[in-house]
């Protein structure tokens, strides 16, 4: 089952739409609550990242019988050094964005903590694509 969402960069009022929709669907499917929680935290964080850093983005969520595959593609500044960005406390968020409580540098590490599989591709000046896969049962 595929769910697609458009994300508007800079519009924090709408941040979280994708994660809340996905959450509803997973709950209705009866996916174990703790599994849902991890997926939602990772997705929400990634969604907010797009809002905070990029101009726009597309989230495609593929809900399978045993796992969820999420792709978040954005048009934005991209990430220069992914491994550096993975470290806790690192952030390129502007002062404004930080003042709103977003982009405190928890982003990528927190996604990593909650994703079973995480893959990030990025081109500086073009954008970033994040792949998150979480399984419903421990393999």
């Amino acid at each position: 089952m595929k769910l697609n969402f458009q994300v508007e960069g800079g519009n924090f009022a709408k941040a979280g739409v994708a994660s809340s929709e996905v959450k509803k669907v997973l709950k209705k499917l009866g996916v174990p609550p703790m599994v849902i929680r991890r997926i939602v935290v990772a997705l929400y964080e990634a969604e907010v990242n797009i809002v905070a850093h990029a101009q726009q983005g597309i989230i495609s969520v593929d809900v399978r019988h045993d796992k969820v595959e999420i792709e978040l593609r954005d048009k934005g500044p991209g990430i220069g050094d992914i491994s550096q960005a993975m470290q806790e406390g690192f952030s390129t968020a502007s002062e404004e964005v930080r003042a709103m409580g977003f982009g405190a540098g928890m982003g990528l590490p927190n996604i990593k903590k909650n994703a079973d599989e995480l893959n990030i591709e990025s081109k500086v000046g073009e954008g970033t694509t994040v792949h998150i896969t979480n399984y419903f049962a421990k393999p």
């Binding site: 669907v25 009866g30 929400y44 907010v48």
Partner: protein, 470 residues
Amino acid sequence: MNQSNQLELHHAIKIAPDKCRACTHCLQVCPTEAIRIRNGKATIIPGRCVDCGECHRACPYHAFYVEQDDLSRIFDYKYRVALFPAVFVSQFPENISEEQIYSVLKQIGFTHTCEVEQPISVLIDSIKDFAQNEYDSESPIISSFCPATVRLIQVKYPALTDHLVLRNAPHDLAAWYVRQRLAEEGIDPSDAGIFYITPCAAKIAAVKSPVGEKKSIVDGIINMSEIYNQVMAKATGVTGNFHSCDCRNEISREGILWSLPEGEKAAFEGKSLSVDGMHNVIRILERLEDGDLPDIDFLELRACEEGCAGGIMMTGNRFLTADRQHSRAKNFPKAQSSVGMEDLAEKLRIAPVQPRPMVHLDTDMEKAFAKMEKARSIMCHLPGIDCGACGAPSCLALAEDMVRHEARMTDCIYIQQLWQKEGKISAEKAFRNLEKRWGENRFDMDCSKRGAKNDNGFGLMNEGEDADLY
């Protein structure tokens, strides 16, 4: 398996079918989409109901009522204890004194009175102990004070049950406390009946089937609005024969404020957040689930706006009640230490609260998948008006009921209209379908409905019904 795991939890919110006109107001406000119209009457899906009382508030025909015990039942006991929360006292107008309220309780037949928040220091220390020494998961810990929010978490936010404080609510504590005091007086426990006068249905439901607890400790539940009316009728005639008994001198400032917003928060040193009102509670729990709350140590939740001052059984206006409660609290000292009450503290512990997820489409995930896909296709046909005329709270809820085989396409009045136009169904058949959902003769002329020619207010009132002063 403890009781909280059983699907058949006790519910205190009931519907009087003779009063229900299936006006659908309740459908829209229920936070767990627990209500459906069947055969022209609102019905509650038990597993989903969290006893929050939103439906009771929304019903213009007063068709919802709260199940309680008859006041006369107190006379089954030689000693009769009235256990009531501080909000009960604060809801009365200023011209009625605390002494008068206490006196009327005795006049009605209670031999002992106790405010539930009296031994609050035991609870404060116990919650602190839980936070510091027992809880080892992610912050925040969530207050388990309001049973409606506890049940909401079990049903709708099952992943968050781990955050709940594993301590009883003040009324349980107070009941144990009273038992102890009675024993000190040399009263045989079997001679004493403890009656809880509550502000809401959620507490009744909790008392009858406590979350994470085996058995309730109170002997009965008395309708607060009934007692309210009695106090209003009798208070003026009461003379000053009141004597300060029943450990009333143990009432504390913290205790009085406990059930109001920020009541628990005030006793908690870490960073805490207080949220009241069902829709606000839902928003904050959604954010917590998303991992989108800043670091908070303690989350205080109250299903009712202004906390228990806004409980559905309260007669007084919630803001005036809360205001009086704040003034009253100033007259009492700070809570004393709980040293020497360790045995009471032991009674406060409860077993972990189990999740009770109720929103899934099927217990088998494969089947749930198929059902969801089907529901999504059905949604392509439904009008998306969420009018409630099908008896479900929204088009999506109807689609999901359909895949659960609990509803049919023709329940949608627009689809019926369309099918008639397309000649797929006769007008006769369409009308019969409507009657199936809404009851026979439901569409006959009737001048007693709200706003019609012979509308006489709320129709027949329940005995002891609260006059809404919101």
